[in-house]
């Protein structure tokens, strides 16, 4: 470099800056300071180091969230199940995602248009929708979830019959679309038009029901992490759905899980896609705000 050319005397001030040892020591000092700074930052502001809900919990930003630490259902699963979810090649849910990808390209209906025809590359057009549904849909004046959004496109834009809820096709397409948002933090809108539906979902969550007279909160808010007979209760988070369940031997929707939890307390379940469940779905996703979309999750 120019300013370090030989013309300076050994003891001139400018020569100090050219001195290798000086620079090296300065560097060593600075890096020491950085280490001190990092360690003290770690000690004084530990919560700001964001987790992912799988091996480190997430502190919800919204102080009205009744949970102080958010954990994905992954955290409460056995090591085997965790390994299945983590490994893309072995995760049985990805079989459905692949089928969804095929449906995405398929021309169908009276218009003979594929999803791809209008939406293009899914990794671009669907990169965050999966983290944002259910959301308010003005024409119907209520919330719609991802399944219902997809069926709306089938009916109105493709001129095809909507898929039956919990059919393999709808599950595959939903898993495919939602998996495009994998690793994105869940962020649903609960104000504005969505507000009254959010409140209904919340009321549903805390309503005791069934012959056993339990609310969702009894199990998933007050007792998560504890053993309920042979299973460990999770926080009942929605971020992995549609999820593959070993007990089902297939992938299933969040509403199927709702029905299961209703039946567990001997309550009469609602139909798939029922407005009650869509409202509950919004409330549940809000409780998990910040958790990453993990579709397709794997559970036992």
């Amino acid at each position: 470099m120019n300013f370090c050319s030989q013309q300076y005397q050994a003891h001139s001030i400018k020569a100090h800056f050219c001195d290798f040892a000086f620079l090296r020591n300065l560097l060593a000092f600075l890096s020491l300071m950085v280490v001190v700074w990092v360690i003290s930052a770690f000690i004084f502001s530990a919560p700001s180091f964001a987790g992912n809900g799988r091996d480190k919990s997430i502190i919800p930003r919204d102080k009205t969230n009744p949970l102080s630490n958010l954990w994905s259902g992954y955290y409460y699963s056995t090591k085997d199940i965790q390994a299945l979810q983590k490994n893309r090649a072995e995760n049985p849910g990805f079989k459905y995602v692949t089928e969804g990808a095929q449906l995405w390209e398929q021309k169908t209906g009276t218009t003979q248009k594929s999803c791809a025809k209008c939406h293009g590359k899914p990794s671009v057009s669907m990169d965050e929708a999966g983290a944002r549904y259910p959301q308010y849909y003005a024409p119907l004046k209520r919330l719609i979830n991802l399944e219902q959004r997809i069926n709306l496109c089938r009916k109105t834009y493709q001129g095809a019959k909507s898929f039956e809820y919990e059919s393999k096709e709808l599950l595959s397409l939903t898993a495919f679309v939602r998996s495009q948002a994998r690793a994105r933090p869940v962020r649903v809108k609960i104000d504005g038009f969505a507000k009254p539906f959010f409140e209904k979902g919340k009321a549903f969550y805390y309503q005791r029901r069934g012959q056993l007279d339990m609310s969702c909160a009894n199990c998933h808010e007050n007792n998560y992490g504890k053993q309920l007979r042979s299973t460990v209760l999770s926080q009942g988070q929605a971020n992995g759905f549609p999820s593959y369940r070993v007990a089902w031997q297939k992938i299933g929707s969040l509403h199927r899980r709702f029905q299961g939890c209703n039946k567990l307390v001997r309550a009469k379940p609602y139909a798939y896609g029922a407005e009650y469940y869509v409202n509950l779905e919004l409330y549940l996703y809000w409780r998990g705000t910040g958790l990453e979309v993990e579709t397709p999750g794997v559970r036992d």
Binding site: A10, H11, H16, D19, F20, A21, F22, N25, L26, A28, F29, L32, M33, V36, S40, Q207, R208, R209, G210, Q211, L212, D213, M214, N218, C219, N222, N223, K226, Q227, L228, R229, S230, K263, R266, A267, K268
Partner: protein, 197 residues
């Protein structure tokens, strides 16, 4: 020759200077940090002193025992005048479709049996307290009430009311207007619980 020695000395002097500078900065930072923590310890000590002082000024609290108000709530008479059967009671406690008590409670005597027969006795839940010694904590009449409707004793509890049909929401048709267990079942379980010393 001398020039290069001089230059080398200069390098060493620089090295010492710079590392002294670095070390003193580091020491300064450490000093500041430790001063901060020491002062907080002093503050805490001060508080302690103040607390101790006020302790002298105020009268001392002597330990006392609370007698549970629960004792006033009970069902003294056997349901429907039935007499309990202990053996049947044990089976009902284990039965997932009836008492299913092990979903939430541990009973120590089953731990041994669990080793041989984990499907029936194993994996006891940890939602509620252990049921060992309940007969020493409660009278039979109180336990009867807890089984009939635990919410009358623990208002927010997750424990189901086993002998109740009113005030429930959206009960499945299959279970509508039926209690989880019969009067006989309750008395049977009760006779088992009364043996849990």
């Amino acid at each position: 020759m001398t020039n290069s020695i001089l230059a080398r000395r200069g390098v060493i002097a620089q090295f010492l200077k710079a590392s002294f500078l670095g070390a003193s900065f580091f020491v300064a930072i450490v000093l500041i940090l430790s001063l901060l923590s020491v002062s907080s310890v002093f503050a805490a000590k001060n508080d302690e002193k103040k607390a101790k002082k006020s302790e002298k000024d105020t009268p001392k609290l002597v330990e006392y025992e609370i007698f549970n108000l629960i004792q006033s709530k009970s069902i003294p008479k056997p349901l429907a005048g039935k007499k309990g059967n202990r053996k049947r009671g044990e089976a009902l406690i284990l039965d997932a479709a009836k008492g299913n008590c092990l979903q939430c409670h541990v009973i120590d005597q089953f731990l041994v049996k669990a080793k041989k027969n984990p499907d029936v006795y194993g994996n006891m839940g940890e939602i509620g307290p252990s049921l060992d010694g309940v007969s020493t904590r409660y009278k039979e009449s109180q336990l009867r009430l807890i089984l009939v409707n635990a919410k009358l004793v623990f208002p927010e509890t997750i424990m189901p009311a086993y002998y109740r049909i009113d005030g429930l929401t959206r009960v499945d048709d299959k279970y509508l207007d039926k209690p989880i267990m019969s009067a006989q079942d309750i008395e049977d379980i009760l006779s088992f619980l009364m043996k849990l010393k």
